[in-house]
Symmetry: C2
Subunit: 152 residues, 2 copies
DNA sequence: AACATAGTATAAATAAATTAGTAGGATTAA
DNA sequence: TTAATCCTACTAATTTATTTATACTATGTT
């Protein structure tokens, strides 16, 4: 059985999403023009990828004159969280705690940063209001994203 | 330019690595036999993947009689951390703090778990001894893994 | 109206990822 | 010694991911 279609963002897809998150609604030609120096892409390359993103539910488009304007319909924060959940499943038995401890236990972390993280956690934990939905709390796979799209 | 060879663990690769982390040194036939019910694989399929893993530096082999015995040469913890670093680069501008806040800010988290996480962080932060190497602190890409291989 | 221009749609080419079939070599069994 | 068995090596088929060329369509210009 060959590889399944990726549910998360691939490299080319993420590159485009980052541009859309920064620029907001954009025509394909604008995305092409906004490509960073040295990694220019053909118009049709961008078009193909942005259409895949639309199939995946990450962007939508509306017509303005004869051009399509694409805009993200999944926020960067939500896409990032989907990605975190995905890797939490793959590598940490779906345990936030294990992921978190791995993050803090990294050898390459220096003491000052660790201190900053502790402070950030302390203040963040207070701000977070525990209003959470009761549906589909465990998955985090494609369903997690789809369910969220409705909520947006 | 077509997709670049993946530096992180693909699905089939991770599946095998998990078995090797649990079982330790194993012959290909043993891995085939140990495959979970319903996702059996042909001998050659496992062989191909484990050879890719060897190319990537995740496993090594020695000869025992006429069979090759494969054993992991990257620990699960280290592979997981490489993966975390990779996604930290892709989605969080290489900032541990941003990843951590995203993790704690997830809507689907419930108050009790948040409390558990805070406690885990508090105790973990004390235990972590700040003895960190001074080399290659920023990368986390393929180099991060390669550099670690030497240290193991 | 003829022509250039700008945009989308379709098709295709390349490489990676996954799975497996077949061939060949060595060891064991009859 | 011949046959069966077990293992690796090579080859291949399929799908996804990435990129682009070509064709087609509509708008605007001369």
């Amino acid at each position: 059985m060959p590889p399944r279609k990726s549910i998360t963002l691939t490299e080319a897809e993420l590159r485009l999403m980052k541009m859309l998150w920064v620029r907001g609604e954009s025509a394909v030609s604008e995305l092409v023009a906004a490509m960073p120096e040295g990694e220019a892409l053909a118009y049709t390359s961008v078009l193909t990828t942005v259409r895949i993103l639309e199939q995946k539910g990450y962007v939508r488009h509306r017509q303005e004159g004869r051009a399509f304007l694409y805009s993200p319909c999944v926020e960067e924060q939500e896409a990032s969280r989907s990605e975190v959940r995905h890797m939490m499943q793959r590598f940490f038995g779906n345990s936030r705690e294990r992921l978190l401890l791995s993050l803090l236990g990294d050898d390459e972390i220096d003491p000052e940063e660790l201190q900053r993280l502790k402070e950030a956690i302390a203040s963040a934990a207070d701000d977070l209001n525990p209003t959470h939905g009761d549906d589909a709390a465990v998955n985090g796979a494609p369903g997690g994203l789809a369910a969220r799209k409705v909520a947006l």
